[in-house]
């Protein structure tokens, strides 16, 4: 088991390094920051001074080398706009984004799995057909538009919920979270729901497909032949088999949630990483872009690793295989 983890860790580090290379090269072609930051009427000396300060005059590979050295020290440069360390700015925003993403994930699971299993057990019922129809809507609807409509209905027309921003926060282990306050929850519901809709539909469809396949398996019939109760069959025999594909997909999709929060955060003005990167893209704030991408890459690699480990815990057949090879 530990050989497995070590091997994956090494792979992960390789991926991170390659990504840093790609990110750096790619971002280097982004617009011309000089035009952005310097007053067009500034004289040549001024321009040259700024260029020297920001290190833009050195050859690319030298710039990359310094970048790498600094990155390992945790210094990814200062934001052009905010003039603060880029990495710090990005990391500061992580709790907000995480809060959103985790809430969305929980919503997707808590609502999605029961609905999906029900639709799989009674595929011809009216409720099931409604569920499936809604799930198609769920992943066809573009997230941003749904967000807009939510604001329209719940904030403007009905006035029940606030339409933007994050609510009050309380500290938990020294990190501010807003789900611990009522005001925070009120601000959290709409964006989390918005973000979760897509994944919820996915979970419903997965759970349904999984249920339909599993229900016809011989071991379910055998369980009935043993005289087990319907509940036991569904909640133990069925569930455990469905959870494997659902968890795998969800785990991989959690990364998607974090990425997609870009949209939701923009619509709801939620102060997370997503909003930061969009603003940075518009303003060509290179250090932020780089910092964001590096953080995301590391996050993803960790998520993939965790999912792999989780998968091998859930499916005992995988465990044995990996031990051999």
């Amino acid at each position: 088991m530990s050989v497995f983890i070590v091997r994956r860790l090494l792979q992960a580090m390789l991926v991170v390094w390659i990504m840093s290379l790609l990110v750096y090269i790619g971002v280097h072609i982004v617009g011309d920051p000089i035009d952005m930051l310097i007053n067009p009427e500034a004289d040549q000396a001024e321009i040259e001074r700024v260029i020297r300060d920001l290190g833009l005059d050195r050859p690319i590979h030298e710039q990359y080398w310094y970048f790498l050295l600094n990155a390992l020290k945790g210094d990814l440069g200062n934001s052009f706009i905010f003039n603060e360390p880029a990495l710090k700015l990005v990391i500061q925003r992580i709790p907000a984004t995480f809060e959103l993403a985790v809430t969305a994930l929980l919503l997707a699971i808590i609502v999605g799995i029961p609905l999906g299993v029900y639709a799989g057990l009674k595929p011809d019922g009216r409720l099931s057909k409604t569920i499936m129809a809604s799930s198609i809507l769920g992943f066809s609807l573009p997230t941003f538009w749904v967000g807009l409509m939510m604001i329209m209905v719940f904030a403007v027309m009905l006035g029940w919920l606030p339409s933007f921003g994050r609510g009050e926060t309380k500290l938990l282990f020294g990190i501010p979270f807003s789900f611990l306050t009522l005001d925070g929850l009120a601000h959290l519901i709409l964006p989390a729901l918005n973000l979760s809709l897509f994944k919820m539909s996915l979970v419903i469809r997965l759970a349904r497909a999984g249920t339909r396949e599993v229900v016809h398996q011989d071991y379910i019939k055998f369980a009935r032949a043993k005289g087990l109760s319907q509940n036991r069959i569904i909640f133990v025999h069925l569930m455990k088999n469905i959870m494997i594909p659902v968890v795998t997909v969800l785990g991989l999709e959690f990364g998607g949630l974090i990425a997609f929060s870009v949209v939701t955060e923009t619509v709801f003005s939620w102060p997370g990483m997503g909003k930061l990167i969009i603003d940075a893209l518009h303003n060509l704030d290179r250090p932020i872009i780089v910092a964001y991408l590096m953080v995301i890459v590391v996050m993803f690699v960790i998520i993939n690793l965790v999912v792999d480990v989780l998968y091998s815990i859930l499916d005992p057949r995988v465990r044995i295989q990996d031990l051999k090879g």
């Binding site: 016809h216 011989d218 019939k221 043993k226 005289g227 087990l228 025999h237 005992p316 044995i320």
Partner: protein
């Protein structure tokens, strides 16, 4: 048999209502099994033998449905029993063993879990007691180091071991009747032999009735007390095992026995029954076997009644080949 039989199946009808039309998977099937008796239910694939097993326990899946007849288990008609009652009986008083143990044991649950739940579904015992009983059952079917092996997953057992586990599960609650659906088909011949021997011993000792469903006549010959031969959903010949095997009457039974390779057929061409089993959607009117029967004539197109030349013997044929010897 002076005692009341454990199982009496009377005029059972199970039909499948498919898009291509209705198919009579089981057509007017009757038999009885007494205490401690072993009955072999023999037939080719598609003859309806597995469906018979499922029909008894009410496990026929859509689009199939039991549409007629009675299944009397110790006098109680299972066809009319409620779902709850059926659940009480399954795995408890009537157990079933399926063909492929790899598919019947849930791959993501441990063996001990699957055994303990069977016990606790029918009796209020605590986990430790259930675990002990499971361990004893495993030992009884010949699985070494039962305590450790219980904690393993199904895929960690070999095929023969897995089937023994399935048998152990069937025995856990001391059933009155076991329905075994081709339990040794997927196993090596040597293991098969062992299991057959143990099955017979078990039934004699505990008085458990056994229905052994198979396509393999050789298996049935050494094991069963009675035999029912099925063809296209109907029982075509039935009776005491020695009687039927030594003096078969129905042309199909004769054909089956003749096509088994034996000692004195070396060098000669293997016999086959010519033709193919008709599809259930396309059965000939009257006797189902007439398309392949060398003795068929126009009388075969009428519905065949079940005749009983002697008590305990039944056939469904209009050209019985020999009078059943007495």
């Amino acid at each position: 048999m002076t005692e009341k039989p454990i199982l009496e199946v009377e005029n059972l009808e199970t039909h499948f209502f498919t898009k291509a039309g209705p198919a009579k998977a089981i057509d007017n099937v009757s038999f009885t099994v007494g205490k401690g008796e072993i009955m072999g239910l023999v037939g080719e694939s598609g003859s309806g033998k597995s469906v018979t097993g499922f029909s008894i326990l009410g496990l026929v899946d859509a689009p199939g449905e039991v549409v007629g007849g009675k299944v009397l288990f110790k006098g109680e008609n299972l066809i009319e029993a409620s779902d709850k009652r059926l659940q009480e009986l399954r795995g408890n008083k009537i157990s079933m063993i399926f063909q492929d143990p790899m598919m019947t044991l849930n791959p993501v649950l441990r063996v001990d879990t699957q055994m303990i739940e069977t016990i606790r579904a029918h009796e209020k015992v605590d986990k430790e007691t259930a675990r002990q009983r499971s361990r004893d059952a495993l030992a009884q079917v010949g699985i070494p180091a039962a305590e450790e092996r219980m904690r393993a997953y199904p895929h960690q057992f070999s095929g023969g071991m897995r089937q023994r586990v399935a048998i152990a599960i069937a025995l856990l609650n001391k059933p009155d009747l076991i329905i075994a659906d081709e339990p040794t088909t997927a196993l090596d011949v040597t293991i098969q032999g062992q299991i057959l021997y143990e099955a017979q011993k078990l039934c004699r000792e505990t008085g458990t009735a056994l229905i052994w469903i198979t396509h393999d006549l050789a298996v049935v010959a050494g094991l069963a007390d009675k035999i029912s031969v099925m063809y296209a959903g109907r029982i075509v010949e039935q009776g005491d095992i020695d009687d039927v095997l030594d003096h078969p009457v129905h042309p199909y039974t004769i054909g089956l026995l003749g096509s088994v390779p034996g000692h004195n057929t070396r060098g000669t061409r293997l016999h086959q029954i010519p033709g193919m089993t008709p599809s259930l959607f396309n059965l000939p009117k009257g006797c189902a076997f007439q398309t392949r029967c060398p003795f068929a004539d126009t009388t075969c197109t009428e519905d065949q009644a079940i005749t009983r030349p002697i008590p305990g013997r039944a056939i469904r044929c209009c050209h019985p080949q020999r009078e059943a010897a007495q």
